[in-house]
């Protein structure tokens, strides 16, 4: 198991002793997913929070079994799960799929609860992770309500150039809240 990235990610916000580090690592498991495989399916239990070691994941909401809304993408070094389902033990509202072969490190809800008890510093770590996630989602909400589709595309491509390279237009459109046809027409206009 390649634990360097996840330990570096954690060291950004809290410092662990080597005992703590070992205890933390003992709670993790590694899992690989093939392209197009589902990490999580709607209505299932969502047992794990996932740290992306390699590859690309996408979380999306499927309304009326037909319209996809992309909630987030996750690449190397991101954490992803259906947070409501994971934390509140609800059935999943989201699907999470691998957009390419991906390797993730999984931490179960039970082990996270243990971790909070054993090493309270992790409360701080996840406090910071959630704080950033909240700020990010709130800003995206403002952008969605105050910018045009074309402006939203510009913001997205400036903010996440690495993601832009990895995902197709249909998926970007569903993240921006527009149809693939309309995104295509935006892009062909802005080339001129």
């Amino acid at each position: 198991m390649n634990t360097t990235p996840i330990l570096a990610n954690i060291a950004k916000h809290i410092a662990l002793t080597s005992d703590e580090e070992n205890y933390f690592l003992s709670l993790l498991r590694e899992k690989s997913f093939n392209k197009k495989e589902l990490i999580l399916r709607e209505s299932q239990r969502c047992e794990y929070i996932n740290f992306v070691n390699s590859g690309t994941l996408r979380a999306y909401y499927l309304s009326n079994d037909v319209k996809e809304t992309t909630v987030m993408f996750a690449i190397k070094d991101w954490w992803i799960t259906d947070m409501n389902c994971f934390m509140n033990l609800q059935p999943a509202m989201l699907h999470i799929e691998a957009l390419e072969n991906s390797q993730v490190i999984q931490l179960s809800k039970n082990n996270l609860d243990k971790l909070f008890l054993e090493i309270p510093k992790f409360e701080r770590f996840f406090r910071i992770i959630f704080q950033k996630a909240y700020i990010r989602e709130q800003l995206r909400g403002i952008e969605n309500l105050s910018l045009s589709a074309e402006e939203r595309y510009q913001v997205f491509s400036n903010k996440y150039p690495q993601i832009l390279k990895k995902v197709n237009q249909k998926q970007i459109a569903s993240y921006l809240g527009i149809t693939p046809e309309f995104l295509s027409s935006i892009l062909s206009k802005s080339k001129k």
Copy 2:
């Protein structure tokens, strides 16, 4: 200072000894705002996180000095601030105004940092607060991208009936991301 509501709010998630309680209370200050008064103005420093003791507040983003986007309402028992500005010491992006005479309890960033050092349990408390805020914002994002304006109004009025009573249609429209004129036409149609 009426500290019963804020202590009850905290007791929902963590248990404090009476020493801890006293230390926490020593870091707070109470402030009252008149209807229409601004608690926070765009581009200012945002020094405080606010707990609402009474009244109603609204946070909004103003684009091109003309279009308002309501980011959140806060009534009794809610926490509100411009979180990015508060936590990352950035100039405020949001305005926060009192929609009626309101009393809030304020905790400064400096005192919050002290609190995290002195009583690490508060990391847990705010971890849970941010976790809920993140889940709430993500769900709102999904609703904004997947539901029609009329459906969004229904969801809002079912989820926040107390807020619905306190705020006017113009403000609800700016929360839903539509014009007041269009909200008016939705409402008059649905009466029939």
